[in-house]
């Protein structure tokens, strides 16, 4: 059962971000959302490869980056999953992480869809 009450996309975060960038804000955020769409799948792949190789440092670093990037764009649930993965990597619990990766990909799919909607609006 999904107990995470945080939103998949916190629109307020995105709105404040656009606000802080002035006139160039909307176009820059649009551009960065496209980059995000290209980047996140690559990061997931890197993370999974690192898991296969037992490279906790890379797992931690990639999870840390994805946690921040997702939060920056209002993807609070994805950020939360990545936080858990980062913590597990720090504790060396790499074997438990593949189970969370499925959840991470699902959260990202939902987040990405809502980002597309936000962008279109």
């Amino acid at each position: 059962m999904d107990t995470d009450v945080r939103p998949v996309l916190d629109r307020g975060v995105l709105d404040r971000l656009v606000d802080s960038l002035g006139a160039t804000g909307p176009s820059l955020i649009d551009e960065l959302i496209i980059e995000l769409g290209d980047d996140v799948p690559v990061q997931f792949t890197t993370l999974e490869q690192a898991l296969e190789h037992g490279d906790a440092v890379t797992v931690r670093r990639v999870a840390h980056t994805l946690k921040s990037t997702a939060a920056l764009f209002g993807g609070m649930r994805l950020s939360s999953v990545m936080r858990t993965i980062e913590a597990m990597a720090v504790e060396g619990r790499l074997v438990e992480i593949p189970f969370l990766m499925r959840s991470a990909r699902e959260e990202y799919a939902a987040f990405s869809a809502l980002l597309g909607q936000w962008k279109a609006s």
């Binding site: 971000l17 002035g22 160039t24 931690r60 980056t65 990037t69 920056l72």
Partner: protein
């Protein structure tokens, strides 16, 4: 976002994630700052080494290669960069990470995701810190440079300097001071200043220190005799100034000593040489005068006995030539005394009266300020010459007047009469040697006497209405009685 900042800073963003780097850069640029980037720790440190012109660093902690803590440590060890504020911007937001960042010298910690409003506030505050630190460094550099210059002057100068505490003890001495007194080993500290003086100068030395503390005014240097370790006295021109606290209480006294021993030796040698020359002059003049008297006696007898009118003009010419020689000898007597004795303070009114009364000047008035004038002891001769010229060349004179007035910071001493005055064409020449109707030396001597202490004389009278001699005495060479 409201309010673009007015203090434009140069910000280095160290962030490995391309998207976050761009976003952070855009927010910071939007605030008006200039931005440069580094993608990892090593390139960040290299960038700072190559171009240290940065006002604030935004530093992520989790980086490929060396982590943010190592970068922070590197920044704090880099000379010229160590004072640049570093704001840690990290998603690693455990208390441990925050404390470690601050302990390693971070100015601030900003958790990710970055709140733009919070970032602006932190940047503004960090820039203010940077500006304050820059000012402090500039002031420190100025103070250091000034201190180095001062140190060079104190350590390398020829002036002896010592600092004296309120009990009169020497607290510090510079090398020149120690060399002057014959001990370069760092001695004298703790000794009483007056014990450094020869017994003949102790009273004056004590008075000088007391006066400096009491008057709070700049005092003229005094010449004091110091006792040297090698038992040979040293003479020094001593200036003192007192350092005071904000309430005006003396904290310590700075005493500066210029060695005048050599100068005094030269002065003494010169004085002796002058004395010898004067004796020689006097003896020679005396011998010539005796011979001259003898020649004049014989000439007078010859003139009386001479029966040949053809010889008269030749004898008269010989007599006139002898008179000229006598006058010239008289001039050498007067001139040799000028400048021989040191100038002295002389009360003006008494001096004028004493000088001119023997000449019984007609209608004399002396309306001068109650002042003393610092001049050659022969100043009296100047006033005598004025009245003597009036008597000899002034014609029907009924009035002679001495007066004074102030002209700027100078004193003017004016002598006038109502005689025939000086022709315009002669005004510039009357002070030259040999020009004049009598000996031609009087006004030349007057100008020489005055020039020894920097006074000047001009004649500004009007022909037919009388003479007007004007003496300008410079500031410092006259004072109220």
């Amino acid at each position: 976002m409201e309010g673009i900042v007015t203090d434009i800073g140069r910000v280095l963003i160290i962030e490995d994630d391309r998207i976050e780097r761009r976003l952070l850069g855009a927010i910071v640029e939007r605030l008006g700052h200039s931005v440069r980037f580094a993608e990892d720790g090593e390139s960040a440190l290299e960038s700072l080494k190559a171009d240290p012109m940065v006002d604030v660093v935004l530093l992520d902690l989790i980086l490929p290669g060396i982590d943010g803590f190592a970068v922070l440590e590197g920044i704090k060890q880099m000379q010229g960069i160590e004072h640049v504020p570093v704001i840690v911007v990290s998603g690693m937001d455990s208390m441990k990470a925050i404390i470690r960042s601050i302990e390693q010298g971070a100015t601030d910690f900003l958790p990710k995701p970055v709140d733009p409003v919070l970032l602006r506030a932190r940047l503004t505050s960090s820039l203010a810190v940077k500006r304050y630190r820059d000012q402090q460094r500039e002031h420190l550099a100025e103070v250091s440079a000034f201190s180095a210059r001062l140190q060079a002057i104190i350590e390398g100068g020829a002036i002896g300097i010592t600092i004296i505490d309120n009990e009169g003890r020497l607290v510090e001495t510079n090398p020149a001071f120690r060399r002057m007194l014959g001990d370069d080993s760092g001695g004298f500290v703790g000794m009483q200043f007056v014990d450094m003086l020869d017994t003949t100068s102790r009273e004056e030395g004590i008075a000088l220190l007391e006066e400096a503390i009491l008057t709070k005014e700049h005092l003229l240097p005094r010449e004091l005799a110091f006792w040297r370790r090698d038992a040979v006295n040293m003479w020094g021109s001593v200036s003192v100034s007192v350092a005071r606290d904000p309430q005006g209480n003396p904290v310590f006294t700075i005493c500066m000593v210029a060695d005048t021993t050599e100068r005094r030796r030269y002065e003494e040698a010169l004085r002796r040489a002058n004395a010898k020359l004067n004796i020689l002059n006097t003896m020679t003049r005396h011998d010539i005068s005796n011979q001259l008297t003898s020649v004049m006696g014989h000439l007078s007898l010859t003139q009386e006995l001479n029966a040949d009118p053809a010889l008269n003009s030749g004898l008269d010419a010989a007599e006139e030539a002898l008179r000229v020689i006598r006058r010239q000898i008289a001039f050498t007597r007067d001139y040799q005394d000028i400048g021989v004795h040191a100038p002295v303070w002389q009360p003006l009114r008494e001096l004028i009266l004493r000088a001119v009364e023997p000449l019984h000047p007609p209608g004399l008035t002396v309306e001068v300020l109650a002042v003393e004038v610092y001049a050659d002891p022969m100043l009296e001769r100047v006033f005598y010459t004025f009245v003597e010229n009036t008597r000899r060349h002034g014609g029907e004179v009924t009035m002679c007047r001495f007066s004074t007035s102030l002209s700027g910071r100078d004193l003017l001493i004016v002598y006038t009469d109502d005689g025939i005055g000086v022709p315009i064409e002669e005004k510039d020449r009357i002070f030259e040697q040999g020009v004049g109707k009598n000996t031609g030396f009087g006004l030349f001597l007057a100008r020489e006497i005055l020039s020894f202490t920097g006074s000047e004389i001009v004649e500004t009278g009007e022909q037919g209405k009388g003479v007007r001699f004007e003496i300008r005495v410079p500031e410092g060479n006259f004072r109220s009685l």
